[in-house]
């Protein structure tokens, strides 16, 4: 148990000393994760909505495929994106590899299926009467969608929270596409992986404790915000 006490104390020291390197790592982590979540939400929520409310031939196939994509390993995503943005890839000229942009691209691919499938699940469960009621009261497509999304908000917020949790704790893509370059693309998780490789377990867990604290604060804020907008 000493180990956890050590880690906890170390995390306190790390925070107290306001280590600028640490601040940068936290900043990069949050920036990249939040942007990825935002983009994935902007893509996945409307996509999930459309799949959920429209009836079309391959619907079950699409859902099965999305469920399959939940199992997409980070290594595959990493290599896939790598092939496109590496110096020899077709987008090589943009010099994206080992930048935060590359990490965001990979992470978005990782979590779009998460947001989409859970949006579909959340919306499918909403009574069709909500849709019909909005329609008969004169709502157009977008306004009807907003009504349904509002009714499904708990599920959708949950999917976004899960997606955020997934990316901020994610290490494979950040490592492969970000490169863990100190000061540029080093995130809390890649730093943790590094400390682990070095055998500095205490430091790795100390970083993990900081990460969880940040995630906790974000969730408390979200909870507070959701509580206020309820009804």
């Amino acid at each position: 148990m000493d180990f956890f006490v050590d880690s906890f104390l170390s995390s306190l020291i790390l925070i107290r000393t306001v280590d600028p390197a640490l601040l940068n790592i936290v900043y990069v982590s949050l920036k990249v994760s939040l942007l990825s979540t935002l983009i994935a939400g902007a893509v996945g929520i409307p996509f999930g909505f459309v799949v959920a409310v429209t009836e079309f031939a391959g619907k079950r196939a699409v859902i099965t495929l999305l469920n399959t994509l939940l199992a997409l390993p980070t290594v595959v995503i990493g290599l896939f994106v790598y092939m496109f943005i590496s110096r020899r890839g077709i987008f090589g000229v943009f010099d994206l590899l080992y930048t935060q942009k590359a990490m965001i691209i990979g992470q978005v691919i990782l979590i779009v299926p998460v947001v989409t499938t859970f949006t579909i699940t959340a919306i499918s469960r909403i009574d069709t009467r909500y849709r019909r009621t909005a329609m008969t009261l004169g709502a157009d497509r977008i306004q009807t969608a907003m009504v349904i999304l509002r009714e499904a908000r708990f599920g959708i917020v949950a999917s976004v929270v899960a997606a955020f949790g997934r990316v901020i704790s994610e290490v494979g893509i950040s490592m492969m596409l970000g490169g863990n370059a100190k000061g540029f693309t080093r995130t809390m998780t890649t730093a943790m992986a590094l400390e682990y490789d070095k055998g500095e377990f205490v430091l790795a867990v100390a970083l993990g404790i900081i990460l969880m604290s940040i995630s906790l604060v974000m969730n408390i804020l979200l909870n507070y915000f959701q509580g206020r907008t309820a009804v």
């Binding site: 170390s10 020291i13 492969m176 370059a181 100190k182 590094l194 490789d197 070095k198 100390a206």
Partner: protein, 279 residues
Amino acid sequence: FAADKVIKMSTTTSTLASGLLDILLPELKKDTGIEIKVLAKGTGAAIRDGMDGNVDVIFVHALEREKEFVEKGYGTKRYAVMHNDFIVVGPKEDPAGIKGMTDAAEALKKIALSGSTFISRGDDSGTHTKEQELWETTGIPMNKETRTIVLEGKELKVSFFSPQDSGRWYVSIGQGMGKTLTFADEKQAYTLADRGTYVNYKLGRAVPLDLEIFCEGDSRLANPYGVIPVNPKKFPHVRYDLAEQFAQWLISPRGQSVIKNYQVLGQTLFFPDAIPGIK
């Protein structure tokens, strides 16, 4: 009991990634019946495994730390098994102009002075340790970064060295050798690499690395590997006899010749150290 002759070994990724173990271990089994569960990871984590008694033997390349491991009683004895060597590689254009240099420290110094991008593994591995040693001998002012952690209740300082004013050209990525080479290739930068991985990435792939060797042969660039059985006095459960048998086999003529004859794409990757001149 053939099935029972299984031991656990922690090693650095290079021994596994280079393919050496894939040749070595079947031979070992044929000769001794010993099977090895290989756990490949970062140097630090591999040594840590030994210190925690999670494995029966470690096989790493970090000479100073290996000695310390034995001194502190975690291991019984370090057996020198083999070495390969480090090389300085960089882009064809060679912006720092270090082609053909044999003094590794001088080469690094030129890279620093010309401000050419240099990728450091930055992961406290054997390679990284070697790189830090070399930087220190260049005379370039070093930057020491210290972090305080608590270990077993006591505060402890951990430090890292890197050249001063290196913010732009010195990129520390904290990753394994292969990834570091890939990174350097992408950014067309210099880096210090071990020859085995370099050969693999240069010759073993459809799209070869776009990096050339510019500096090699400096005696300081040797990269020795050692094998250390974990001390049964510290961890009574370890299978010391099998671990010792494995170590003995490695340094035996049989083991040494397997290492010597292991080639990738016509290149010898490791040179046996236990028996000089073995065939």
